[in-house]
Amino acid sequence: MKWLRFGFKMLFLLVTMVPFLWLILASFKTNQELFAAPFSFPKRWMIENYEAVLSSHPIPHYFFNSIFIAIVSTLLGVIVATLVSYAFMYTFKFKSGWLLLITFGIFIPTNAFIVPYYFIVNWLGLYDTLLGVALVYAGVSLPLSVLIVKTYMDSIQHEILEASFIDGASVHRTFFQVILPVSYPGMTTASIFLMITAWNELLFASLLTQSEATRTLQVAIRFFLTTFSANYPVAFAAMVIAIIPTIVIYSLLSEKIIGGLTAGAVK
């Protein structure tokens, strides 16, 4: 049984490691090597692919844009989701109606919204700005963030709300001093989701930005995959560079979540 479990874990590890290792391997090939033998080692390791990425475009600048958008959209998304999830800890009129209204959007295939989002962002005067993209990301992911944070808050025992009121705390003070401190694993999970979605998104980023000043990393990666010449290994090199921060962020944030594992349940 123990061996079975170990074997299963190792097999799964292989399945999850393959994409990453393959991506790194492929990023050192020539395009023709990639298509001739996708899984073999490169004849010569093409460091040039990385040089091509870093020298041909202001990658650090795009990096900054992507980070800005990821952070702002995550903050906005998590703040809004946490506020509304707190409201749902109480009973009030049409509660399930409000919840449905805020979360129904999860089933909407948002790629159908290209045109209205362009109009909205323009109307806000945010076309070709980083904030415009961040706002759209926070908005599109809102139903998801709300469901994540709310599900977590639902597991908090409501007695602590009552206890807080008996202590004479107001609704707002209860939020800041009682609920927020115990909700962070839910908020962190939502942040992981929001950050990584924002980091990897392409469709809206290319729709809502135009100039070099607002270009994100993902939009820039398309430079290497154009209709007239697609150089996959160079694009992969750019992807490898783009992946590194997400791994770091995930490692740090997931530490936060599982911090709760040792702390145990909500008091």
């Binding site: 749902f88 089933f107 597991s155």
Partner: protein
């Protein structure tokens, strides 16, 4: 709590919902009864677009394939995520590393993953077929991506296997379980499997529900894998709703049909949820205060 206080907490979310869902949805509803090429004037056609969709064999294939995706999400992807979360929750040696490694594919862009799996399943260069050949099972080698019977399943593989988010959501919920429960179970001499079966799984019902919703939503929106791995083919055999919407809009420039299909996708999501939660009897836990 007075209603005024509640609305303060609700307001930002309502603002976002109005801006990013309600207004676009009104637009979607409006365009779904029009004929529109994306630039010129619209032409009211009542329910012609829906009639077209219902008569279009490609749309039918898209609905069936999307249903298959959703089934794979609920029956394969979600349980696999739960399984991995349970394994990690026991904190085996190196679990912190595993937690990062199992999540790794989720930070890699879909373009790269689709490309990798295109090559893994490639008819002549592919890992799968070459593996079969090397162990003498030549007859098992198969054009996975270009056989109409297997293409849709081939497209699903990366989605089914890469369970990072699902696993994290389960793990998050597991942190809320009181250790007292496990201590009590240990005193009663419960095995690990029994603890999972009688404590952990019942306590993460909320996360199961959330994951089912998320994965259904994901399947309704996913178009990159079919687009990049098979182009929805061969002969539209692996197209899904989202790719159909995308193609009708971007290549065919038939916004009315595209938006009608979008509306059908929303309905499909709602129906899927009713079916799933009806069947499982999982209802959302209601808060009381």
């Amino acid at each position: 709590m007075t209603s005024r206080q509640i609305y303060i907490y609700l307001a930002p979310a309502l603002l976002f919902t109005a801006l990013f869902f309600i207004f676009p949805l009104v637009f979607l509803l409006y365009v779904s009864v029009q004929e529109w090429n994306g630039i010129g004037s619209m032409n009211f056609v009542a329910f012609d677009n829906f009639r077209y969709l219902l008569g279009d064999p490609v749309f039918k294939a898209a609905m069936i394939n999307t249903a298959l995706w959703i089934l794979a999400g609920i029956l394969l992807h979600t349980p696999l995520g739960l399984l991995m979360a349970l394994l990690l929750f026991r904190k085996p040696r190196g679990w912190k590393l595993f937690r990062v490694l199992f999540f790794l594919p989720n930070v890699i862009s879909t373009t790269a993953l689709a490309f990798l799996w295109y090559f893994v399943l490639h008819v002549s260069l592919g890992l799968v077929n070459n593996l079969f050949k090397s162990v003498g099972l030549e007859s098992w080698a198969h054009p996975w991506l270009s056989d109409p019977g297997t293409a849709v399943f081939a497209n699903m593989i990366p989605f089914v296997l890469y369970i990072g988010f699902t696993m994290v959501i389960f793990l998050t919920q597991m942190t809320t379980i009181s250790p007292d429960l496990y201590e009590a179970a240990e005193i009663d001499g419960a095995t690990n499997v029994q603890k999972d079966r009688y404590i952990t799984i019942p306590m993460v019902k909320g996360a199961i529900a959330i994951n089912v919703i998320f994965n259904t939503a994901f399947c309704l929106k996913m178009f990159e894998y079919p687009l990049l791995m098979t182009g929805g083919g061969p002969a539209d055999s692996s197209i899904n709703m989202s790719l159909y919407i995308y193609r009708e809009m971007i290549t065919a420039n038939r916004y009315g049909i595209s938006m009608s299909a979008g509306l059908m996708a929303i309905l499909m999501g709602a129906v899927a949820m009713l079916l799933v939660f009806g069947a499982l009897g999982l209802t959302e836990r209601r808060g009381k205060a």
